[in-house]
Symmetry: C2
Subunit: 128 residues, 2 copies
Amino acid sequence: MRQLGSAQPTAVELEILRILWELGPSPVREIHRRLNEAKGTNYSTTVKMLSVMLTKGLVKRDERATPHVYRAALTRERAGKTFLRDLIDKVYDGSAMSLVLQALANGKATQAEIDEARRLLDEMEGQP
Amino acid sequence: MRQLGSAQPTAVELEILRILWELGPSPVREIHRRLNEAKGTNYSTTVKMLSVMLTKGLVKRDERATPHVYRAALTRERAGKTFLRDLIDKVYDGSAMSLVLQALANGKATQAEIDEARRLLDEMEGQP
DNA sequence: GAAGGGTAGCGAAACCTTTCGCTGACTCAA
DNA sequence: TTGAGTCAGCGAAAGGTTTCGCTACCCTTC
């Protein structure tokens, strides 16, 4: 059984989250308009994706309203943090410093810059 | 048809790339040892994944050697850049500055820090 | 109450990734 | 030559994501 809180959004799911982050809580029709604009998706598909995301806990919905209003269950900030952490884990074996060093590698970076970057990344990682 | 150069490595593919980045060019047996260690994968699976990755252009192999030697077709640096760009595109709608601002948002950041971070990210993005 | 439009949901198909059984080739030693 | 071991590859199954057809349920409005 997949842990509810730890599910990484898939490509389309992320696209929907992005729309919700931009629009704020919205009815399906609104979300669909955007998604269809971007990639010609069928209305049924949008509804299905939202229902899948609901069971995964990626979105929440207010059923009292008609039409139902959906909203993202995580913030853009949290998603960003998670993805960045994931990137560091998957590409740099968990070493944030590796990424920083690599980033500065071909450029001309002072020690001050490196320290600065380190602090920035520490903040991004958040506190476990 | 999927563009060869633009294929984003999947989870297992990335795990294999990570092994190759660490070990350098290696025979299947070596790669398999690591992969199996990490997640108990069958030998056949490792071979198959490598063959899939070969057709996708993610790895190259020297068939003159016996056993065949595989090596990553992209560097860790390039993969990191691509993933970071992808993260920015998918989560922050392509605005690197959004990510930086968000990262600094809850912390207490000086203007100097922000400028620093901007420069860092510019470098990470590479020059189109 | 019948027709039409907006809304919601289910189940199955289509597609991609990941897994592995099975097979064959090749090498080395007895 | 035969048997044991290593290496490579194919095809199909298993599992997850994404797609959509079809159905049903409200509301209006006639």
